[in-house]
């Protein structure tokens, strides 16, 4: 479902954000992308979603190559990104309008969009909140509304960037339940290794733009490895 080969991306100021990253994720798999700040996790997501154009390397995600302009246009229908800060993602005036934003951009008929809005809000437990204004939502509600906005596009691949950021323990627990109940392939970038442990079967460790190691979630038991890459084992 996701196949990345020797991906390299540098910012306009020359800073290398991704340096020869290669890995694959099978359909239906839930994989954790872990690493310290500046490891390149968010940049990788932006490359996978076609926002950033890598200089070198090959990407194939949900059968599409983001480097190809025609295929890039089809990416939003197949790849959903949940950003670190939900305020960046909830830009419409009401929750319903925001959830409808993506499906409307897919030129779906209004009735189907309404049906998808209702379904997605139901999936994240936000039925009845359609007319609320995003800035009045709590952190957990914002996160759920942001996820609903992505689910409404029915993506085959979900990229979740620091999904537990700004959430209290209750919100975090609800999020773990929600993520585990979501269909499709998931790539979860997070510092919250306990969340990764509870939602992913495999992890990929990144540091300084490079992929260091990949393996089963039990890899996070290796205290030395975690400390070497600025992380802490969630297995106590």
């Amino acid at each position: 479902m996701i196949d990345i080969r020797e991906l390299r991306y540098a910012y306009p100021d020359g800073r290398v954000a991704l340096d020869g990253v290669s890995f694959s994720v099978a359909a239906g798999e839930s994989v954790g992308l872990i690493g310290p700040n500046g490891a390149g996790k968010t940049t990788l997501f932006l490359c996978l979603s076609g926002v950033f154009r890598p200089r070198l390397g090959c990407v194939n995600i949900a059968g599409l190559d983001p480097a190809d302009a025609a295929k890039r246009k089809q990416l939003p229908a197949k790849v959903g990104v949940v950003f670190q800060n939900s305020d960046d993602q909830l830009f419409s005036s009401t929750v319903a309008e925001d959830v409808a934003f993506g499906p409307l951009n897919l030129h779906l008929p209004a009735d189907e969009v309404r049906q998808r809005v209702a379904e997605s809000l139901g999936q994240v437990g936000m039925i009845g909140q359609e007319d609320r204004v995003p800035f009045q939502l709590s952190g957990g509600e914002k996160r759920r509304a942001a996820i609903a906005g992505v689910l409404a596009m029915r993506p085959e691949v979900l990229l979740l960037d620091e999904p537990s950021m700004f959430l209290d323990p209750r919100g975090r627990r609800e999020l773990i339940r929600l993520i585990n109940g979501l269909p499709g392939t998931k790539l979860i970038a997070s510092h919250d290794l306990a969340l990764v442990r509870d939602t992913c079967s495999r992890v990929i460790v990144m540091d300084a733009g490079k992929m260091m190691i990949e393996g089963p979630a039990a890899l996070m038991k290796d205290v030395q490895l975690m400390e070497k890459h600025g992380l802490e084992t969630p297995f106590v």
């Binding site: 979603s49 939003p76 960046d88 830009f91 209004a110 969009v113 992505v150 596009m153």
Partner: protein
Amino acid sequence: MLIELYANCMSLNPEHVTTRDSWLALRDARWRLAAFVIAIVGVALLRQPGPASVALGLAIVLAIVGRVPGAWLRTRLGLLLFALIPFLILLPFTVNRGERLWEWQGLAITDAGLIVAATLALKTVALVTLAFTLLATAPLHVTLCAASKLGVPKLIVQLVLLTYRYVFVLLDELSRLRVALRVRGFRNATSMHAFRTIGQVTGTLLVRGSDRAERVSHAMRCRGFDGHFRTLTSFHSKPADAFMFLLLVGATSGLVAWDVLG
């Protein structure tokens, strides 16, 4: 001071007072917007106190019909009148025609000056009442969608929508910065240090705003945004919408005719 500014801006948010079931709120937003814009322009043109008084009366009737919460409206009108006080005090002294009612050391209050001041106050309160009634009878995005349907450039509509959405986020950031300053001992003062700090805070806000704009743009592109805002809001005209429009436009025309001819 910043907290007060923040609180005031939050209270400017009309969403929580939007009435959805009043006769005015049930009208098609396009007809309502067109009628209110014409009414606002008409009232702005008035120059006589008689028509201005009637305009204020009609604006209050519309606010009642639109079930605009009285306390919410009164608070804002009170603030507006407070801001108008300097103009209302100065105006009677600045008009030299008409009968001099009071004179001291070369300063004179004339009856024409008092009439101009009263007309200004009546017109302003009427205009703002109309504007708040318009805002309170539909969610802002519905009114802006109606504006787009009426030919207002989409770019302007999008900018207003995004500004409205993110002004509160920026105010939140400002509030956090203010707390960060206070806990490190900063107090507002007329000193170079204070001016420099305020400048730095403004710069920080601008940089953060710019970063956020970039992230929002990424999020929009990831959800297929191609430069066109699409919405689920749909409009359906009924005879009552045209009736409301004609009623309001007729009343406005009558007031303007009375003002010009009377």
